[in-house]
């Protein structure tokens, strides 16, 4: 029963997700809408709580067992508690009862987000440019005809998207666009068809209970 019940749930809700595309009747569409709008939202709210509790438990455990980089778990827990208190009691923009401005210093959620999360996130992503430049310099080599073609195409695209390209040749941006529109789309479409067919096959296997690895444990 422990394994059959989740399989039954997946079968029922998997079919319920597919059927509305084929039955346009108002009664069924209303049922589908109610399931998605009410039932799914309630489930999602529980999933968020479950996720937060699980996150806390994982990091508490990490601190308790002094696992690798356990010190950072303190940063996460402290950040979580502080932003939770400010958000729940002070509101996103300080509209609730907890004061979020002391001595001219504002610390509501929106201010913290724009002044801590945004610069940190942008900085982390910006570092990618340096790693990409270094990796391209060391590894992007014309070793064969295929890699030479890739190199040539990348140069055309890299220059073609710049304002400078028009000054080199008015055909260069159009050629870069052509590479993206035709050879790129041809390759991508083939890959997409493969992924879509694979996705359909895997989904059917999960819905019909053939693929059970998601249940965990032994088969």
């Amino acid at each position: 029963m422990k394994r059959r019940f989740p399989l039954l749930l997946v079968l029922i809700f998997g079919i319920l997700g597919i059927v509305p595309y084929y039955i346009p009747h108002a009664t069924y569409q209303n049922f589908d809408n109610a399931m998605r709008n009410d039932f799914l939202r309630i489930l999602s709210a529980f999933a968020i709580i479950l996720g937060l509790v699980s996150l806390m438990r994982v990091h508490q455990d990490k601190i308790k067992r002094k696992r690798e980089n356990w010190q950072y778990s303190y940063v996460l827990i402290i950040g979580f508690v502080i932003s939770g208190i400010i958000g729940l009691l002070g509101g996103v923009e300080g509209e609730l009862f907890l004061p979020t401005k002391i001595a001219g210093i504002q610390f509501d959620i929106q201010t913290l987000y724009l002044n801590i999360i945004v610069p940190l996130g942008s900085t982390m992503f910006a570092l990618l440019a340096f790693f990409m430049a270094s990796a391209a310099y060391r590894a992007f080599r014309a070793r064969s005809i295929e890699s030479s073609l890739l190199l040539a195409a990348s140069f055309v695209i890299m220059i073609g998207v710049l304002p400078l390209a028009d000054r080199i040749s008015t055909h260069l941006p159009s050629f870069a666009q052509w590479i993206m529109d035709i050879p790129n789309v041809a390759a991508k479409r083939g890959i997409t068809f493969g992924i879509a067919l694979g996705g359909i096959a895997t989904s059917l296997k999960i819905i019909l209970g053939i693929e059970r690895s998601w249940l965990g444990g032994k088969e």
């Binding site: 799914l40 999602s44 999360i117 610069p119 996130g121 270094s134 391209a136 060391r138 710049l162 304002p163």
Partner: protein, 291 residues
């Protein structure tokens, strides 16, 4: 030969330093770079420009801080376009993280317009000209639910007002009242709007995406599933160009200013790749001769 060999085995810290200098210098004195507008962006601009009076524009802002510099100019340009044309706008996010950035873009553009306004009629007013619907988890709920009723999915907006009480939303029921939905995302959100909302309810979708993920989206543009496409900083700069040239709006163009930095970064990378390859070819030839 020794110079070439030295250049082809540079320490990575030198590569970092040269790239950092190339990226930062053009940002010290920003200047607007003129760009040629390509068809995907022109199509998106025209799709927004021709929204009928009885329909609204939905802007789905789903970029996060990581992709903010590339994506925010797109959001700002689209909002400027819509507000200048007096197109009603509804802004939403599928995830919670981009909400703060959506609000930032909205605040910036409404402030720009309201500073220039001479009367209430000229101003951009919340509830009359635009609404901020906020976020409703999980994403599948708005993706499909808005095809039946927008105010049932977003019963309250970001600020807590009842959505159906806002003047603009009184005549807006579902996707039938939407001219086009423009999804700006550093991930795959635009594809979801096609897979779920367009397939089932036929809503027109336009997209703004990062340059690095662009190849994923062209196939859907080619089939006409995307009404138009903005790709990376260049796409944003092209939209800014259209907003300025067609609507005579002369606000700050951040994407067009950043193109100088983008040019320097691309050229630096190309030079490094060439140097690396010249060194590689020289070494390969020498090895073959010695064999």
């Amino acid at each position: 030969m020794k110079i070439i060999e030295y250049l082809s085995t540079l320490d990575r810290r030198i590569v970092y330093l040269v790239l950092a200098t190339a990226v930062m210098l053009p940002l010290v004195i920003p200047s607007v770079q003129k760009v040629r507008v390509m068809t995907p962006v022109a199509k998106l601009f025209n799709a927004v420009d021709t929204i009928p009076n009885d329909k609204i524009l939905i802007v789905n802002i789903d970029y996060d801080p990581q992709t903010l510099p590339e994506m925010e100019p797109m959001g700002v340009a689209v909002l400027r376009h819509a507000f200048e044309r007096r197109i009603k706008v509804a802004v939403l996010s599928l995830y919670v993280q981009p909400l703060g950035l959506a609000k930032k873009a909205l605040d910036q553009v409404t402030e720009e317009f309201n500073q220039r306004a001479n009367s209430v009629a000229d101003s951009i007013i919340y509830g009359r000209d635009y609404v901020f619907l906020g976020w409703q988890p999980p994403p599948i709920v708005p993706l499909l639910g808005m095809g039946i009723s927008i105010s049932n999915v977003y019963t309250r907006d970001y600020y807590g007002y009842r959505t159906d009480s806002l003047p603009m939303m009184r005549r807006i029921k579902n996707f039938n009242d939407v001219g086009i939905l423009v999804s700006l995302s550093g991930a795959t959100a635009p594809l979801w709007w096609i897979a779920y909302s367009q397939t089932r309810f036929g809503v027109a979708v336009g997209a703004g995406v990062t340059a690095v993920s662009a190849s994923e989206f062209y196939q859907y543009y080619q089939t006409g599933q995307f009404s138009g496409l903005m790709i990376g900083m260049k796409g944003a700069a092209e939209y800014e160009e259209l907003v300025e040239s067609r609507l005579q709006l002369r606000d700050r163009r951040r994407a067009s200013e950043a193109l100088g930095s983008l040019t320097a970064a691309h050229l630096t990378m190309i030079v490094f790749i060439i140097i690396g390859n010249v060194g590689f070819l020289i070494r390969r030839r020498r090895d073959r001769r010695s064999q």
